[in-house]
C-alpha cells in the first residue's frame, strides 16, 4: 500500500456485542462499545486520536450523514473524520492512504450497523432503479436467488454445498445456534432456491481498529499487524451483468493487492471471505483461486477459509469485512498465522469487492 510513505499498523482491536437486537444502546454508544477496547489495546486515549475513517450506510441508520452518530466517539470534537459508504475494509484502505501521505498518524477505523433499527426489504428496495425495478418490489435476496439459480445451473455448486458452508460457519459462531445441513435445506424458502438460513441473519454489529504510522508504532510499542495492501474493484449493476456468477471484480481486487504486496496467493495462511449468502462464498472463493467443488467446500468445513465463520456466523452490513480484519489481526498477533487475506463485498448480489492483506509484525 504505502509505496512511498509510512506503513499502516493496526495496534488496537475492538468489537461490540453482536446480537439480533440491542435495545440498551444507541448507535453512538454501540460504536463506543467497539472503539473503547480498541483504544485500550492501543494504550491511547480518545483525545490522542486525531482522525477517523468510518463505514456505515445512511439508509440503515435512518439518518443522512450517518457518521454524525459516531464521529465524536471515533476521533473527538474537531477531529478529522471521513466516511465511506461501503464495507469497513474499504475504510481501512482509505485510512491507510491518509497515513501513507503523512496527513494522519493515529486514527480509528470503525464500522457500525444496527440492522434491528431498519427494515431490510424497504432499505434494499431503495437500491434499485426507481422507475423500472422498484414497482416489482425486489430486494437483495431476490437478485441473489437469480444468482444462485444461475450458479446451480452450471453445476459449479449445489444447495447442499451451500448449506455445508452455513453449517461450517455456524459451528464457529459465538452468537448463532449450530445448524445441520437438513436444518438449512428445510428452513423457510425466501426466494427459490434460497432458504432463510442461506443468508446471514440481520444483526447489530460494530468493530473498530486503532491504526497508526511507523513513528507512532515505535512510540507506543504495542503488538502490531501491518496493513500490507488494500484494493477494491467495482462490478456492474446486477441487471447489466451478462453473467451474475461472474466474480471477476473479486479476483481483480485480489491480484491488485497481491501485486502491491509482492505476494503469491500461496503465501497466505489465513483467508476470510465476507458475503451475505452462503453460495456467494463458493463463487467468490473460486474467483479468488481457492479451489472449486467438493475440495472448496471442505476448505470451509476445515476452517482453512473463514476460520471465524465469517458473516454467516454473525455480523452486519458494512461491518462484516472489518469484523474479519479484527479476527485475522488477532490470529496474526497470536502467531497462529503470518499472512492473512480478508475479502468483503458491497452492493446488490455481491457487486463490488474489497481486499486487505495483513501481515504479522513478528
Amino acid at each position: 500500500m504505502a509505496q512511498h510513505g509510512s506503513d499502516t499498523w493496526v495496534i488496537g482491536l475492538g468489537e461490540a456485542r453482536t446480537a439480533a437486537v440491542l435495545e440498551d444502546v444507541s448507535i453512538n454508544e454501540f460504536a463506543w462499545e467497539a472503539i473503547q477496547p480498541a483504544l485500550r489495546e492501543a494504550g491511547v486515549e480518545l483525545r490522542q486520536v486525531t482522525g477517523a475513517v468510518t463505514a456505515s450506510q445512511d439508509f440503515w441508520d435512518g439518518r443522512t450523514i450517518s457518521s454524525m452518530n459516531v464521529n465524536e466517539v471515533a476521533c473527538g470534537s474537531l477531529g478529522s473524520e471521513a466516511k465511506v459508504a461501503a464495507d469497513g475494509v474499504q475504510a481501512l484502505g482509505y485510512a491507510a492512504a491518509r497515513i501513507a501521505d503523512g496527513d494522519q498518524h493515529l486514527n480509528v477505523v470503525v464500522a457500525h450497523a444496527k440492522e434491528s433499527e431498519g427494515d431490510a426489504h424497504t432499505i434494499e428496495l431503495a437500491a434499485f432503479d426507481p422507475y423500472f425495478e422498484r414497482p416489482l418490489n425486489p430486494d437483495d435476496t431476490l437478485v441473489a436467488a437469480f444468482q444462485a439459480q444461475a450458479l446451480y445451473r452450471t453445476g459449479a455448486a449445489s444447495p447442499e454445498e451451500a448449506a455445508r458452508v452455513v453449517v461450517a460457519a455456524r459451528s464457529r459462531s459465538e452468537v448463532l445456534a449450530a445448524a445441520a445441513v437438513e436444518d438449512v435445506l428445510s428452513s423457510p424458502l425466501t426466494a427459490e432456491p434460497l432458504r432463510e438460513l442461506d443468508r446471514a441473519p440481520r444483526m447489530n454489529a460494530a468493530c473498530a481498529l486503532v491504526v497508526c504510522d511507523d513513528a507512532k508504532r515505535n512510540e507506543l510499542e504495542r503488538p502490531a499487524v501491518r496493513v500490507v495492501a488494500t484494493a477494491s474493484r467495482a462490478g456492474a449493476y446486477w441487471r447489466e451483468r451478462a453473467d451474475l456468477t461472474d466474480m471477476t471484480p473479486a479476483s481483480a481486487a485480489l491480484h491488485d493487492a497481491l501485486d502491491q504486496a509482492g505476494w503469491a496467493l500461496g503465501d497466505i495462511e489465513l483467508i476470510e471471505i465476507a458475503a451475505p449468502f452462503a453460495f456467494q462464498h463458493l463463487m467468490i472463493a473460486a474467483a479468488l483461486g481457492l479451489g472449486a467443488g467438493e475440495q472448496l467446500v471442505a476448505r470451509f468445513e476445515r476452517g482453512e477459509v473463514n476460520a471465524s465463520g465469517g458473516w454467516l456466523a454473525g455480523s452486519a452490513e458494512s461491518v462484516a469485512g472489518l469484523h474479519a480484519v479484527v479476527f485475522a489481526a488477532r490470529k496474526l498477533r497470536a502467531g497462529e498465522a503470518r499472512r492473512a487475506l480478508v475479502h468483503a463485498t458491497t452492493g446488490i448480489a455481491a457487486q463490488s469487492h474489497h481486499v486487505a492483506l495483513l501481515e504479522s509484525a513478528a
Binding site: 500500500m1 504505502a2 509505496q3 512511498h4 510513505g5 482522525g51 450506510q57 445512511d58 439508509f59 435512518g62 439518518r63 443522512t64 450523514i65 450517518s66 457518521s67 454524525m68 464521529n71 465524536e72 470534537s77 474537531l78 477531529g79 478529522s80 473524520e81 471521513a82 466516511k83 465511506v84 459508504a85 461501503a86 482509505y94 491507510a96 492512504a97 491518509r98 497515513i99 501513507a100 501521505d101 503523512g102 496527513d103 432499505i123 434494499e124 431503495a126 437500491a127 434499485f128 426507481p130 484494493a231 477494491s232 474493484r233 467495482a234 462490478g235 456492474a236 449493476y237 447489466e240 471484480p249 481483480a252 481486487a253 491488485d256 458491497t346 452492493g347 446488490i348 457487486q351 463490488s352
Partner: protein
C-alpha cells in the same frame, strides 16, 4: 505538505446547474465527467480510480454509486463512495488527493452529483437532527442557519443590510459564470430585504437554492500533472475538522466556527500562510446563507472577529476587491449538494489554472477552497500554481 507524492488538480468539469429536467441523475453525473475528461483529451481508460460524492437520502437511492457505476466510469476500477453531508464534494476531492499523494493511484477522478429536483432535501436534512429535541424546531438547513445567524447578529452586530450585500455580490458574480443556477444581474439590497422571511433573520434571497448539477475533477500525481495541464493547481494543504453533532453542544456555532478555525489553521500552517488576506488571491468558501459568508471570512482570518460586515461594506471580497470571495457566485447561486463543495474546489483550481473565463480573477497564484456541512463539518484545501517543494 510533506506528502511522498505531490498532487495537483489537472482538469475540472461542471454541468450547467439549475433545474435539470432534461437529464437523469446518471446523465448529469456523466455530463460533468465527460466535460472534465474532454477538457484535457482524457478517456476513462486513463483513470485509475473513482471517488463519488452524493447524499443518497436526498433522492432516496441507497447504494447510488453501485446503481450508477457505469455512468460514473468506475466499472472494473476502485470506486470509493463518500457521504459526509454538505462537505461531501470537498471530502471527495480530499479523498482524490489522499489516494494520489499516498502513492496508491496516479490519476483519480472525483465526481460529486445531486438532483435535488428528484427528492426532498429538507426532509433528508431534517434527519441529521436529534429526533426528540432538534427535528421539531430546527428542521432542514434553513432552521439551522436561522438559529446560527441570530447568534451571529447578537455577537457581532452584523446587520441584515450587510448580509444582503453578500447576496447581491453572489448573484451578480453568477452572471459571469456560465454554469451558475441563480443569475440576477439587477438584484439589489432592498430586493433581498424585501424577499419572503423564511425563518428570522433569513430571507429567501439570503439562502442558497436547491440545484441539480454535478462537478468532476481529475487529481494527478507529480510527473503526470505537468503533462496533463499547462498550469496544474497543486495541492499545498488539506485539512478536515468536525464539531459536536448537536448544535446545542457547541454554542455560538456561526459566530465562533471552531471547526473552520481548526481546519484552516492546520492548512495555513502546512501551506505557510501567514496573512490570509494578503496571501490568497481568491477564495471559494461554502456559504449556504449570506450570514455564513461573513462569519466564515472572520473565522478564516480575512478580517478580525466581528468585522465581517465591515469587510463587505469595504468591498474587499468583491470581484475587484483585495480578496475576491466566490467569484463563481458561490453556494448562494448554485447548490447541487453532492457537488457543491467540489465546485468550490474546482472553481479554486480553475482560478489557479487561469481557466475561469469571465469570472477569472487576474494573476491568481494561490487559492483557498472550503466545504461545510452537518455538525459544522469543514474541509479545507489550498491550491497553488507553484509546485510544493
Amino acid at each position: 505538505m510533506s506528502a511522498p507524492v505531490r498532487a495537483a488538480i489537472v482538469a475540472t468539469g461542471q454541468t450547467d446547474h439549475g433545474r435539470r429536467f432534461d437529464t437523469s441523475m446518471a446523465e448529469i453525473a456523466r455530463e460533468a465527467i465527460d466535460r472534465c475528461l474532454e477538457s484535457r483529451g482524457l478517456h476513462l481508460d486513463d483513470i485509475d480510480a473513482v471517488v463519488a460524492g452524493n447524499m443518497e437520502m436526498f433522492e432516496g437511492i441507497y447504494l447510488v454509486d453501485q446503481l450508477f457505476v457505469g455512468a460514473l466510469g468506475a466499472l472494473g476500477k476502485p470506486l470509493y463512495k463518500l457521504n459526509t453531508g454538505g462537505t461531501v464534494g470537498a471530502s471527495t476531492a480530499l479523498a482524490c488527493y489522499h489516494l494520489v499523494a499516498s502513492g496508491r493511484h496516479r490519476r483519480v477522478l472525483g465526481v460529486g452529483f445531486q438532483k435535488q429536483s428528484e427528492g426532498s432535501t429538507q426532509a433528508a436534512i431534517t434527519t441529521v437532527g436529534d429526533p426528540i429535541w432538534e427535528r421539531a424546531v430546527m428542521a432542514g438547513a434553513i432552521g439551522n442557519f436561522a438559529a446560527m445567524a441570530s447568534t451571529y447578529i447578537a455577537d457581532s452586530g452584523v446587520t441584515p443590510e450587510q448580509a444582503a450585500k453578500v447576496a447581491v455580490k453572489a448573484r451578480r458574480n453568477a452572471c459571469l459564470n456560465p454554469h451558475a443556477h441563480l443569475k440576477m444581474p439587477d438584484i439589489t439590497v432592498e430586493e433581498v430585504l424585501a424577499s419572503e422571511m423564511l425563518a428570522y433573520p433569513i430571507h429567501r434571497l439570503d439562502m442558497c437554492p436547491a440545484s441539480d448539477g454535478a462537478c468532476a475533477i481529475v487529481m494527478a500525481a507529480d510527473q503526470e500533472a505537468g503533462k496533463l495541464a499547462d498550469r496544474p493547481a497543486w495541492v499545498h494543504a488539506v485539512a478536515t475538522a468536525h464539531d459536536q453533532q448537536y448544535m446545542g453542544d457547541s454554542p455560538k456555532r456561526l459566530a465562533v466556527m471552531r471547526s473552520l478555525q481548526a481546519a484552516s489553521r492546520k492548512a495555513y500552517a502546512l501551506a505557510g500562510i501567514e496573512d490570509p488576506l494578503r496571501d490568497f488571491d481568491v477564495a471559494e468558501v461554502y456559504e449556504p446563507a449570506t450570514y455564513a459568508e461573513l462569519a466564515m471570512c472572520e473565522n478564516l482570518q480575512f478580517c478580525a472577529m466581528g468585522q465581517g460586515g465591515r469587510l463587505i461594506d469595504d468591498g474587499v471580497t468583491f470581484l475587484d476587491g483585495q480578496l475576491p470571495v466566490n467569484p463563481s457566485g458561490g453556494v448562494l447561486s448554485t447548490n447541487p449538494v453532492g457537488a457543491t463543495a467540489m465546485i468550490r474546489v474546482a472553481e479554486a483550481a480553475m482560478q489557479v489554472m487561469g481557466e475561469a473565463g469571465a469570472h477569472q480573477v487576474p494573476d491568481v497564484s494561490r487559492a483557498l477552497a472550503t466545504g461545510y456541512g452537518g455538525n459544522a463539518w469543514t474541509d479545507v484545501m489550498i491550491l497553488s500554481a507553484e509546485r510544493p517543494r
